[in-house]
């Protein structure tokens, strides 16, 4: 019974503890060194065999060894726990690159996407959205818009007719009339929607989509129209998109203009493409809806949503928008 024995014991315990690799084996080591009948306890029992003056010191040392073993046990227990967690985590490893579960999203129709984008721009600058019926009467689709009954301009657009002077609107312009009939200036509206013309080939569909814009207020000029068109084109396309105004004719605007974009296609060729018709609201139109054309003036503009979608998304056949092939739809 000696200090050497204690040191040796501590060494042995330490070795055994480090060897323990599970909580069970660690428990076994614990009871071996600190249990009821362990060597240390036996040593303390035999303490009376020591000379009185050394008993206190020896007792102290035995306790020290005990504490050290305990702290080693604690340390090893932590280590075993940590290793266990780690090996659990390893077991739970997955291949994060595998495809996900569940269903993907559907898609908005490309024309809806374009429409939303245009609506958001104009709502942002204080316009309202206005809608109207698709089966219209001659008055709102033509007469009120200064399209005279037997004038060739009446035949510029091939119209679908029903009985009783009803027709499928050939443009969204009747919404202008309905809006102005039911309100007082100032007006700042855009009117998106479906329109119909009796025409069918790769570049014409009997049904397509337009968005119409109308501003009527005091002091509105052609210069204002040019300004807003620039804002829109720069927002919708790119900052440096080249475009031009050229003279044109619509019965409901005067002066009338077409806006062409200098569009560069995928193979690098540039071409002027018509994207918008516009002009100052014709005084006859204002008169027809009871707006004083000496006090108020305004401008209107209209665009084909399908055409914009074709340009923006690079779709070259208009019919794809209405075939609803899922491989087409899913791309939007």
């Amino acid at each position: 019974m000696s200090k050497e024995r204690l040191t040796q014991l501590l060494q042995e315990a330490s070795n055994d503890i480090l060897k323990a690799d599970s909580s069970v084996s660690l428990d076994r080591v614990r009871s071996l060194y600190l249990g009821k009948n362990c060597v240390l306890t036996e040593m303390l029992k035999d303490i009376h065999n020591l000379p009185k003056e050394s008993r206190r010191e020896f007792g102290q040392e035995v306790n020290n060894v005990k504490e050290k073993i305990q702290s080693l046990l604690l340390e090893q227990a932590e280590k075993i726990k940590a290793e266990k967690v780690l090996s659990c985590l390893n077991l739970e490893a997955i291949d994060v690159t595998m495809p996900p579960r569940g269903n993907g999203l559907g898609s908005l129709h490309p024309i809806t996407r374009i429409r939303n984008e245009i609506e958001e721009f104009f709502i942002g600058i204080g316009f309202e959205i206005s809608e109207g019926p698709e089966i219209e009467d001659n008055y709102h689709n033509f007469d009120a818009l200064n399209v005279e009954a037997h004038h060739p301009s009446r035949y510029m657009q091939d119209t679908f007719y029903f009985q009783n002077d009803l027709l499928l609107r050939t443009h969204t312009s009747p919404v202008q009339i309905r809006t102005m009939e039911n309100g007082k200036p100032p007006f700042r509206i855009i009117a998106p929607g479906r329109v119909y013309r009796c025409d069918f080939d790769a570049t014409h569909s009997p049904m397509f989509h337009q968005v119409e814009g109308l501003v009527v207020d005091e002091g509105i000029s052609f210069a204002n129209l040019k300004w807003i068109v620039r804002l829109f084109i720069e927002h919708f396309f790119t900052k440096n998109m080249k475009f031009r105004f050229r003279a044109s004719y619509f019965p409901f605007t005067e002066p009338s203009a077409e806006v062409d974009l200098l569009w560069t296609n995928a193979s690098g060729q540039s071409k002027w493409l018509e994207v918008m018709g516009c002009g100052m609201v014709h005084p006859n139109v204002l008169r027809n809806v009871g707006v004083d054309s000496e006090k108020y003036s305004g401008f209107a503009f209209g665009m084909g949503l399908d055409r914009l979608a074709m340009l923006l998304y690079g779709v070259d056949d208009l019919r794809m928008f209405f075939e609803n092939d899922i491989r087409f739809l899913e791309q939007f």
């Binding site: 559907g106 959205i129 019926p133 698709e134 009467d137 007719y161 029903f162 000029s221 003279a247 928008f321």
Partner: protein, 800 residues
């Protein structure tokens, strides 16, 4: 309007390049639709005169010609053309000349006779006209002159899109005026005057329909050689304008129409009996037109007639009975101004669109009739010197001719409309260049437009002209105030956006289908609704307006199934059209146009993937999709689904969707008979909902959350399998009252241990009190009461 650029250039002294000219046309509103270069080759070709032509000694079909080309000695040329003869003026390709198709001319020996050069046909020079044989030039052509100087072969065909307001630009003359206006190049009209030798020979003209025909001029021309070839330069220009040459008389009338814009018509004089009368047709009168069509007329059609018969449908097309033919010797030539709407109405009603009607309905210069008839006569006399002309008879009702009144143009209005100041001198200069008479007056000008501008009647018309000629590009941009107008945001628009996103998030793709469908398809889905028919559908499969979105969706599904797609979810939002009267005169169209949403789901719930056992989508999957979006806008209590038959849906798997007891839609499985009609192998689930409920603002109210614990109790019941969940759920909630927070159905089981005709359902009931903690005893008693009530109402048995 399609025309030869060189022809236009003979009217203007314009140094703009072709490209510049086209650009200018486009920006002033005469958009260039197409531009085609015609490169005629004529290096080393000169005008020659055939001094003699004799038969080739060794070949029947060849002639040996002696041709003067302006050099000291004439050339000997062997020629194969039938029409070669002594005295002709012809284009001669000298040795080393290069012709169309890069044909190089060399000195050669033909059947023993040396030939030095070639007499050319039109096609060998790369021209449009396709005369057989060699080209016969006018006899006054100067011998030895380079052919390229005599006739410009290098030309471009320009096609302009002339808007309906600009009838005055449907002629070379009109386009030249426009070039003058935008380019300031001077205009040099060819000299149309010539001494027409006329006699007193006249045809009596009676204009009965003065309103429809305020100006009519006519003249007799006798002794025409109708077999005479039309000169190549006329044919060339006609062909470049896509007009087919017919005979000398018709070609000249067409030529003058292109040149001046005045349509002319020639009748065979011997086929006219008595006077020429311009009158309205009698109801039921019939005319055989030149195109072979037989038209029965009505009293609003204007005709040219003689004492016995109809000669022409005025301004549109001549009649067969007075047609110029190969025996024609004498003609009556007409040049008239007709009322625009009269011609327009008739030509559109009868779908007769001709070059003449195209011009008359847009407006021909009412001052042009006499001048045009003189011009045509001159040309005819130049070409056929033997014909003799009668006097022109003009019947003019001056008071009925369209006349311009001076228009007051205010400086202030110009500035206000354009947003910029235009200098007085600019305004006056532009108006002058447009042939307007301008007089200064207080605050502006009084402006009188020329007679041919039917589109200029009010001040704004002049403002437009100023902007157009000044250049839209030069008008500055200027910001405008974007103050708030009457903010009246339509809630339905925002709701619709949210609705779309909800559907997309639930895996639906948005489709757009036609608003018109095939009638049979329509009646398969909604036989009880009478659809609205289009009077002029594109085709029979787009003939009636849809009353439902479902047929369009099914067509989209079939389209994709045919392309081997197996799983799809589609939706569409759009108007449907019902011929029902509106309850209120909300809009004055007597057709109901409700906005609807419809959806379709076919195939598995999940795409094929690892880790999920997929299954066919069924009614309840679609019901979930519907509730997902409905509850964005309305509360759960407001919505009920009830079994409801629908023609297109499976009678046992279809439900009406009720919002506050109003039927707003349907959902269900496509009827198996339709499913097999469309050859779809899998069950198809559909829904359709009227979206007028989106017009309402969403009514959200916060409900207090209890701070006290809730208690869950699970029970299993055996009930008759026909028992409706709606009723059961209602019965439980009636008993449970406020304490019952929710009822969840978490299992449904039939099979072993369950009697036939019954099913076992497992429910989780959640109880909670807002003010206190519930004790076991009261929950037990509540549960007992519920079970008792279910026993009474549904003979439900507690499963233990």
């Amino acid at each position: 309007m399609k025309f030869s650029e060189q022809w236009l250039r003979t009217f203007t002294n314009c140094d703009l390049s072709s490209e510049e000219l086209c650009k200018q046309f486009t920006v002033v509103g005469l958009e260039v639709d197409s531009f085609t270069s015609m490169h005629g080759k004529c290096e080393g070709v000169v005008v020659g005169e055939v001094l003699d032509a004799v038969k080739h000694p060794n070949a029947d079909k060849l002639s040996v010609c002696t041709v003067n080309v302006g050099t000291s000695s004439p050339l000997t040329i062997v020629c194969g053309a039938k029409n070669v003869r002594k005295g002709l003026k012809v284009p001669v390709a000298l040795c080393d000349a290069i012709l169309a198709n890069d044909l190089k001319i060399k000195e050669t020996v033909l059947r023993g006779v040396p030939s030095c050069g070639m007499i050319c046909s039109a096609s060998e020079l790369g021209m449009q006209c396709d005369f057989p044989g060699i080209l016969e030039l006018p006899l006054d052509a100067e011998v030895g002159l380079d052919f390229g100087k005599y006739f410009v072969l290098d030309d471009n065909i320009i096609e302009l899109n002339i808007t309906p307001n600009r009838g005055d630009c449907l002629s070379i003359l009109g386009l030249a005026r426009e070039v003058f206006a935008f380019s300031k190049c001077s205009i040099s009209l060819p000299d149309f005057s010539c001494a027409v030798k006329s006699t007193d020979d006249i045809k009596n003209i009676v204009v009965t329909a003065k309103q429809a025909c305020p100006s009519y001029s006519g003249r007799i021309i006798r002794n025409i050689d109708i077999k005479k070839e039309t000169p190549f330069w006329i044919v060339e220009r006609l062909k470049k304008s896509d007009i087919r040459p017919l005979n000398l008389v018709v070609d000249i009338t067409n030529y003058v129409m292109l040149e001046l814009g005045q349509p002319l018509h020639a009748f065979d004089l011997k086929k006219i009996s008595g006077d020429i009368e311009i009158r309205m047709a009698k109801q039921g009168e019939v005319i055989d037109l030149l195109n072979g069509q037989n038209v029965t007329l009505s009293s609003d059609d204007l005709v040219i007639a003689d004492d016995n018969k109809l000669l022409a449908l005025a301004g549109i097309m001549g009649g067969k009975d007075s047609e110029i033919d190969s025996d024609t010797v004498d003609i009556f030539l007409e040049s008239a101004f007709f009322d625009l709407p009269t011609i327009s109405k008739c030509s559109h009603k009868r779908m007769l669109h001709t070059d003449a009607s195209h011009r008359f309905e847009r407006g021909v210069d009412p001052r042009l009739q006499h001048k045009a008839i003189e011009r045509a006569t001159c040309l005819l006399q130049e070409i056929d010197g033997n014909c003799s002309c009668g006097k022109v008879v003009d019947v003019i009702s001056d008071e009925l001719l369209p006349k311009h009144k001076p228009i007051y143009l205010r400086k202030e209005r110009i500035a206000g409309m354009l947003g910029m100041l235009l200098g007085d001198n600019i305004v006056i200069d532009i108006l002058n260049r447009l042939n307007m008479q301008v007089h200064s007056t207080e605050g502006g000008w009084m402006v009188l437009p020329p007679s041919y501008r039917f589109d200029i009647n009010i001040e704004m018309d002049l403002v437009e002209e100023l902007a157009r000629i000044y250049g839209y590009e030069k008008i500055p941009e200027s910001a405008m105030s974007l103050g708030i107008s009457n903010v009246n945001t339509d809630v339905s628009l925002n709701n619709r956006k949210r609705l779309r996103l909800s559907l997309v998030d639930n895996g639906y793709s948005e489709v757009v289908t036609y608003s018109f469908i095939e009638q049979n398809l329509q009646s398969l889905f909604c036989p009880e609704k009478k659809p609205i028919h289009l009077l002029n559908p594109i085709s029979s499969d787009l003939a009636v307006m849809r009353t439902s979105l479902l047929p369009g969706l099914i067509k989209s599904v079939v389209y994709n199934i045919n392309r081997k797609q197996e799983r799809m979810k589609f939706f569409e939002i759009g108007l449907c059209f019902l011929s029902e009267e509106l309850p209120e005169e909300k809009c004055n169209i007597r057709i109901c146009q409700p906005l609807k949403l419809a959806g379709v789901s076919v195939g598995d719930v999940y795409e094929k993937q690892w880790g999920i056992q997929s299954r066919d989508a069924d009614f309840f999957d679609v019901k979930n999709d519907i509730e997902n979006f409905l509850y964005l806008f309305v509360t759960k209590d407001e919505v009920k689904l009830k079994l409801e038959p629908h023609n297109a849906l499976h009678p046992s798997v279809s439900a009406g969707i009720y919002l506050n007891e109003t039927l707003i839609g349907v959902v269900g499985r496509l009827h198996p008979k339709l499913q097999s009609h469309f050859k779809i192998s899998e069950a198809v689930y559909l829904f359709e909902i009227d979206l007028s409920f989106l017009n309402k603002k969403i009514d959200l109210k916060f409900k207090n959350i209890s701070k006290f614990p809730f208690v869950k109790r699970d029970i299993a019941l055996i009930i008759n399998e026909k028992t409706s969940w709606n009723e059961l759920d209602l019965a439980i909630k009636n008993v449970g009252g406020e304490l019952l927070q929710s009822v969840q159905l978490f299992d449904v089981y039939t099979g072993e241990n369950i009697p036939n005709g019954h099913k076992s359902i497992a429910l989780r009931l959640v109880f909670q009190h807002i003010m206190r903690t519930l004790n076991e005893a009261e929950i037990d008693s509540m549960l007992d009461k519920i079970i008792l009530a279910l026993q009474d109402a549904f003979s439900a048995k507690l499963r233990t």
